[in-house]
Symmetry: C2
Subunit: 600 residues, 2 copies
Amino acid sequence: MPETLLSARNLAFELYEVLNAEALTSRQRFSEHSRETFDAALDTARSIAEELFAPHNRKGDEHEPQYVDGAAQLIDEVKPALHAFMDAGFVNATRDFEAGGMQLPNLLSQACFAHFQAANIATASYPLLTMAAANLIEAFGDDAQKQRFLQPMIDGRFFGTMALTEPHAGSSLADIRTRAEPAGDGSYRLKGNKIFISGGDHGLSENIIHLVLARLPDAPAGVKGISLFIVPKWLIAEDGSLGPRNDVTLAGLFHKMGWRGTTSTALNFGDQGNCTGYLVGQPHAGLSYMFQMMNEARIGVGMGATMLAYAGYLYSLDYARQRSQGRLPDGKNAASGQVAIIEHADVRRMLLTQKAYVEGAFDLALYCARLFDDSQTLEDAEQRIQAGQLLDLLTPVAKSWPSEYCLQANALAIQILGGHGYTRDHPVEQYYRDNRLNPIHEGTHGIQSLDLLGRKVGQHGGAALKALSRLIIDTCQRAEPFTELDALRQPLEKLLARLSDVTLGLLGDLQQGRVNSALADSALYLKVFGHLVIGWRWLEQATHAEQGRLAGNPADVDFYSGKLQAARYFLLREVPGCHHDLDLLEQRDDTCLAMNEAWF
Amino acid sequence: MPETLLSARNLAFELYEVLNAEALTSRQRFSEHSRETFDAALDTARSIAEELFAPHNRKGDEHEPQYVDGAAQLIDEVKPALHAFMDAGFVNATRDFEAGGMQLPNLLSQACFAHFQAANIATASYPLLTMAAANLIEAFGDDAQKQRFLQPMIDGRFFGTMALTEPHAGSSLADIRTRAEPAGDGSYRLKGNKIFISGGDHGLSENIIHLVLARLPDAPAGVKGISLFIVPKWLIAEDGSLGPRNDVTLAGLFHKMGWRGTTSTALNFGDQGNCTGYLVGQPHAGLSYMFQMMNEARIGVGMGATMLAYAGYLYSLDYARQRSQGRLPDGKNAASGQVAIIEHADVRRMLLTQKAYVEGAFDLALYCARLFDDSQTLEDAEQRIQAGQLLDLLTPVAKSWPSEYCLQANALAIQILGGHGYTRDHPVEQYYRDNRLNPIHEGTHGIQSLDLLGRKVGQHGGAALKALSRLIIDTCQRAEPFTELDALRQPLEKLLARLSDVTLGLLGDLQQGRVNSALADSALYLKVFGHLVIGWRWLEQATHAEQGRLAGNPADVDFYSGKLQAARYFLLREVPGCHHDLDLLEQRDDTCLAMNEAWF
């Protein structure tokens, strides 16, 4: 039977050849783990994903959540799937043993979670948000908050959300208006409207813990006046039992193109003037706390985009092997049989492109997960900080690149199936619709590009950017002994050199106050930067593939050849195309910026 | 109120400045027409499209055709919309006055029809197929067939379809299996199954005339053994009255990602051994007849893709003007008000990109419509042939380029609306879903690319290709006096020169039998060829914009400035990106071709 979620061989390559997951077991935190415990967790994830998540992926799309008597009603299959997920411990995969967790590296937790995203992105969204919300309370909540709100999340009884967007304030968080007034008893009364709150209502859990951005009465304007509040759907008594409903009402559901199984809600806080919330951490510091959750969610979005494309790639690959159609251009004899469409050059191009995008993005997502582990568990404090800074730099890329290119991969999967791919009899059209959300939520593509060029590349005196350059050069050096990789290495070196120049120039513009023009083509910059990063990851994969070939398991020759060919595809066919983009960035082409509104 | 379907000013620019539609009135066939009669037809089209097509566009998506008692049931709004369309004469827009037509140039007919495609692509598909089927019978049917089948189509009583695809034969028409046996009375008995037949069943018309590809008993294998049959849903008596049902049954409906208002059917011919059909023209010559209809449909697909993007562009433009969000990078003072998002450089980029794609594709579609007129009504027979050959060459581009880039435009329209664009509260997500069909039907992207490189560019000793080169050079020469166009002209000249070289090389390979490798990157060739053509059309538009600016209607300055900026966008930002693609073509890069099936 063909694999449907991801290639187990490729995952093993990533974990044990490229990213050296076993080395993590020499760190104290993970010392009780081994490749065996890692693989056991992965096996469990795959089987729950295949058996309980994948089977209702289409049904969740066809029967989107309904608004019934003020509540969101989901199909029945979601709850048992999530309970199996929680019972297997995945909600606490990275948490301490003594807190009931598996104390797995984040790398392994992400690798496990990827299976659920591939099987059913909509159902997987509920625990994704819950885990990120729990981590936020764990990091910034006080002991009482952890006792009341975090512990039931760990126990799988409460789910979580992040409530940021308001009708007039989406990308522009500086403008949120939800208010929070001190109630006198240490709690607050919130009033405001939030939209696009994923998982904002459902009957999957006993309670829902909303993490809400709001302003205190004395808040300064803008992002420095935003505070973070815990707002439960049901109030919680001193003894931890559920009290009455809080004044949080479901104003309505959004009906989306895809990703339909996840409720997207409009929530009203304090319609009756009686919405209780609890301040997390310091007043006016809420956005910085929220960014921990947001960064986690952004990397989750990147992995989700990747996995939707992974599932589509595998489906179209299997289809291309089964489906016969036509003959090769040099064998147009109608009396001969039709060939499997995988024989056609253009179908191979579409499959190889998908492979290059999917496996490139998958590697980056796992690399980022590994960086998170490094930022937490490396012995040297300085190295921990460096890992965290590099992760910060890569986050907009890890979020955006898959959102764009893995969506393109989904379009290619449809194309391979032809008319059949456009019908709802096959899953590829749903993957495409689902994936179209990813360039939008958790910060649009445009916001990510401003984050990268306007903030991240220049941060800490460019320390993270320099570290990234060093890592790329390291990879090139390790590739050098393999002469077959010369043709792949050179385009990467060339791109790195030019992008470094262009970056310096743009940072100079920013420092000299030419802000609007320096940032005008940030989306183009993000594209080139993303191609550099993915190109680097492909050279890294290619180097390990060459090493694997030398080490010589004959059963793996095909696998390694495929890796090399996909690396070749990306580095020869995609990376050099960035030089025209760099020309435009270098020239500070102002065609778009100079377009006058009246000219449209 | 903002325009929602297309810009009337832009249409007038195309018709009366770029394509000189008024000059057509000096041809005998169109001598009773004038700009006034043209504009009256356009006005009628716009008002019917706005009032009767657009209002049920979403409803047709939400309530797709249902299979009820062996028939397809549509929403009620489709029929009156189509009757208004027919009553206004659009089904016979190009037909002779004496046959009840408007005797309009095809250019004007297409310009009228574009309004319906923008308003409701699904409802517009029924008359598109009917008109193409009628034209086919008009061209190749005998007098009796014209009397029985064509006349009721002209009268708006019968609709038409094209029935090619079979479950095992989509792109590979050589492999169709539907059989046709002589019945002894001059008619035939058909037996076979067809799928993806658009408009294959409905209650919109008294009868449905299927144009069916099938094989006679003595047919040679492959495409040279395909014959064309008229197969009515209801048999027709000698006196023209409807007889009993023919043995054509609706086996089922396909449920699609988009374009849902058009029934996509599986039809069984001859389940009871009693399906009557009538041979059109000569035995075994059916595919060549069908290609007239297919070519018409392909150009219609290109215009449809364009109009979906046009509607999305205008919607997102209006949204960007109304929606406030955030501040410019150099004015990040939270106390100041938010700006309209059209002020943001990245939103301008997304709008200008849409404008460049949409108006470039629209110009090409209209240019092709004008070429069709030339192929029919130029006085000189040689020139008519040349126009037809050029149209043949451009057809795969006119079909494919908009299918790819106007779909990208739709993705940008969603992105401009952010989270709102992903909901079904706005039409942009539907445009995107609808448009995803266009790279698939009427010959996939891959098929078009093989048609272009494997057949069209080398046809007639390359005559059409040479004619195209001359036209591009002519445009460059007419642009030369405008020094501001120098920067736009040069990239086009450079691309033309290089693509010509690469084309010669590839044709040489084909002649020398290196067929598989020469055609391996045909999709890349199609992309570059398409960019050359659209770049040419943009330089042509820019030249007319400069002329318009000189002629000097001050009210039009903004309009012409927008044209120049969009031309600038396409020629400076998109066209030079093709050189990397040309590098790959020149090198005969075999990365995809060499990818082994076992390596995936």
